[in-house]
Symmetry: D2
Subunit: 349 residues, 4 copies
């Protein structure tokens, strides 16, 4: 009953097999291996973007920070949600990689940036000449950090505003696949066809060992990115083992299969929680993350039985067994019906 | 016949097996996994340093840059060899991670810093108050970038000088194991017992997939390093797969076994080259790297037969078949006698 | 009728005289001049802080950014008001000088940080281990960017909270003298006796040509600051001309005399505006800045007559002559009663 | 007898008068003052460059570092002399402002970069793809830090090489006027007509209080520079007092008059030293700096009589009164024949 995060589950056996298969003799280092060439072709095909610049890095923070440093000047400000991973969970990595750019937090509902709020935020900058920061890229996260998913129309509304000010756009797709499953659209539709310039295409949370793709649809950014990646120490010598993961991940729709499993498990858990007395939801679960609340007694039973997840507020210890405490639950591709049902049974008591 | 580098050979089967074995269910992320706990204990034992702070990162540049950024202030200068990897091959990563520290190049023979040269270089700084950079850490590489190995006495001579000025010391051990095999000493003897404060303990070049340990013998640096690692985007969620590599690498002396194989292969190649007419050496090969020269005709035969290695100077094409061109050859753990002998036969023609 | 800012008025004649007087022969450069020695003594006396480290720089942004870079680690976040000069008007200088620290905006009334809001903001950080930024210094501005002045009790409430978390405190005193006049307290009372660790002591806006003092009450920060100042290119060779300004500024209470004149002019203007029909105030003017609104017709008469000030909202051109538009008015030491009365007469029409 | 530096002499009376004259009422801040407009026109005329972007800053380190940060990417290396001010005397300011660029030291005679050495140095970079730093701007200093002056042909030889690699060029003209006097050429000839892209036009050492112009002959760099200047805290509110200095400096050829005086004084001193027994020269004095050696006894007499200058090597105290110790002597515009002759008399004993 591990629902703490999707970043700690097992690696999918097909990915493991691909690593083993890639381990044959020598391969040119630093991305010059033949598997990487296949990855580039595969991602360009998948995203219907024949000129895209494609790179692999080993962490999502690296993907995000390196992209933003490439898109933003150090005297710019990056527009993002107050709960964006780049703001809350990267220990100032975007500020570091960009050489001191600022993040402007755009008020949001359900962790989504709203178009009006974005327009107001953008209008609020560059009103002071050289004195204030300049308008930089707009960054959104899909699936959001609160488990919600922008619709294509919502993405387009945001990128349209960004483009009207000449600003570039970044999609933090740490859970890209889960969002695709929710939206039922193509990768191209969720990205460049909706106005996105660069994507952190996350795989680690969805069955890989540690690999994220960076995709710039306009290859003009390629060389600068490569230099920033190297000086950020994110160019692995044995790149073939990142590439092998990615190739297997994209083969036979494994990436979608895993995301479908994670989303389905989350839906099962959500349905079960809805049927449970005292369960409320902070946000409507739209992919593989749930923010829900139930009684302290339920939490105590669960955690006593070894369930792992984060309490979002409140303390497990407390006098009132009926008090509702919110929790965050995340399902990855490996979540089993058995564990979910056991979890639900424990909540009910 | 792949002698281009030791960073692109195969991963040792025991490491692959360890990855497979680690892939069981869930594990706490970001270094809180139980395998990492074992790694910490194992490295502390191996280095006879019970309080050492131990971390894993996925590239050598990350290990070097993050250590140096922790040891150096942005207004310092780091003392290193003109051919140091941190100077020549990291695209300004030490400057980036440190926030703008400088590197002072210390004249050296055989890629080693000499004590007199170091003393002169140190004396040359901090002579201008706030106007010049301040004296920062001293960084040496063992095995050096030219294939030579500092003796323990040489290391001690350098660290003694550094300490006499209150400077900290870093060992770039991208080929740590190969050096240990050459010197026949313990890890403690090659590091803290010889005055080294922090080590980049490289494993990727010696049979791992992508993992390097960072070791601070004084744990006072621990928390700052952890923050710098995270904001450098070098804290992987699925850290257990770095840890599993490292644990297997250190188990049953696999790290030494691999390094012995690489050094022995290099010795075989060196002996063969010495027996070959026209073969000269730029540096005496002391571990697993050879800088040697032979005729253009020999190079043409080799490269025509598919041998891979870097020409260090000169052009393969040229009129004079007898002209001597230098090359760099590197053996990793997997180099076979068969390939070496075939290589030697081709040189001879 | 120049009320656009107090950063563009004339230099006080006594300051000009001091510059002329300082121009005698040679003086040691970079702060080693004898006038600087007198300045240090004078500021230590004035602030009742015999060990304070005292430096001069030529801009307020330099004072703020260099202090904050000295107090904050690059992985920290600095707590400040959303309208703080360091956030809105320094083009990411604090982020730049600190090597990428973040600014956390603390909701505030009248541009003041409230203690409860600060406590909430501090509690909101360091909840994620290495993933989020670490808690850094708290920075407040007195006189605030909206013309209000913290009481001593308000300062103390803020610094008490900061200290309870072990955080250092910075006072942006771009209009330090105006605040002292408002509060009627001593410099020591407004700073270290109220828990402030470091001060940007502004003089440029109050009759100097271009000089701000940096004061650390704990001299442990001295050397690091000196190095950061030099590498920030803020160490002038002919420092004596900064020092001469400062010495004259502090002699015979010129600094207080100028601030009294500026505040008195502002009070006269405020009284006049209050007597004028249709004048509203966004904030209560407590020093030398007014945020007030009156009819478009009044603005049109004023600007037609050459009055200079910033419209805070709304457009001068518009159909409705009775619509109230807010403006920012600032008085410096040289504001004349005649100009104020003429200004008021024009508003009334 | 103050020959320690030209950065600490008196401000020329005409500059002081200009400051007083500029102190009339209000002026728009941050460079929008009418005097700055005149300065821009005047400098464009003087440099025969009608589109040049012109800015003022208060220190030479600011001019150099901000220009280099504008011309260099953080992953570049800047080519300069080992004794360049930007390398030795700016406490890593170029590294800081550029976000971590490197400086490659180009072996030189007489503090001048030689064309062959430059070509070798440039060829030595960008040989490693993303692994090494990329080739960045070439920076030369005229008058050099050793008192020598590049001929126009020498400048052109350097810039021709830089241009052949597509590299931009910077001239650190801390002593620009002294070099012009030596060369007897126009500012345009010494800069853009000889292939220079950007100039630090120093004035502080030649009779100003504290002002240096930044000149980009191609205005494409203007806006980036303005943002970097602001976030570097080098945009003064009361810019008119920088502008007033500059305007007076350029009026009636005061800048040349002052430099002629300084160079003439240096020539007188050089002649006198040559006539003095035991005086040797480390470099041929070509502008206003002398590196010369004479007996310890001579130094002792001088320093006993209050002469101020830097000993370049050796210690004043010592057994041998005849030992030759080198010293650096610098004359500014105000050096008097009387002091020079007194100085010479003391050397002779």
């Amino acid at each position: 009953m591990f629902f703490a995060s999707d970043n700690t589950g097992p690696v999918h056996p097909k990915i493991m097999q691909a690593l083993a298969d890639a381990n044959t003799g020598y391969a040119m280092p630093y991305g010059a291996d033949p598997i990487m060439e296949q990855v580039t072709t595969r991602i360009r095909d998948l995203f219907e973007s024949p000129d895209a610049a494609v790179y692999l890095v080993s962490t999502g923070t690296a993907a995000n920070s390196l992209i933003l440093a490439t898109l933003a000047n150090p005297y710019d400000t990056i527009f993002c949600s107050p709960v964006a991973h780049i703001h809350e969970d990267e220990c100032n990595a975007p500020e570091f990689f960009s050489g001191g750019a600022k993040l402007t937090l755009v008020g949001s509902d359900n962790a989504k940036i709203g178009p009006k709020q974005l327009k107001t935020a953008i209008e609020g900058e560059e009103t002071r000449g050289v004195h204030g920061p300049q308008r930089g890229p707009v960054s959104i996260t899909i699936v959001t950090e609160r488990g919600t998913v922008y619709t294509l129309a919502e993405i387009q509304a945001i990128t349209k505003i960004a483009k009207s000010y000449g600003l570039s756009t970044h999609l933090d797709g740490a859970r890209f696949a889960n969002a695709i499953v929710t939206l039922g659209c193509t990768p191209a539709e969720m990205t460049w066809k909706s106005g996105i310039d660069a994507v952190s295409f996350g795989c680690t949370k969805n069955g890989c060992m540690g690999v994220e793709a960076v995709i710039f649809f306009d290859p003009k950014h390629a060389w600068e990115f490569e230099l920033r990646r190297k000086r950020g120490a994110h160019l692995p010598s044995k790149n073939r083992f990142l590439a092998a993961q990615m190739l297997a991940y994209l083969a036979d729709d494994l990436w979608l299969e895993n995301a479908r499993a994670a989303n389905a498990a989350t839906a099962r858990l959500t349905r079960g929680l809805k049927q449970t007395q005292n369960t409320s939801f902070m946000f409507e679960p739209e992919a593989n993350i749930i923010f829900g609340g139930w009684s302290r007694a339920g939490h105590q039973r669960l955690q006593g039985a070894g369930a792992q997840y984060y309490l979002w507020d409140g303390a497990l210890d407390g006098d009132d067994p009926t008090e509702v405490l919110n929790a965050r639950l995340v399902c990855d591709w490996s979540a089993s019906d058995e564990n979910i049902d056991r979890f639900l049974a424990l909540i009910k008591g």
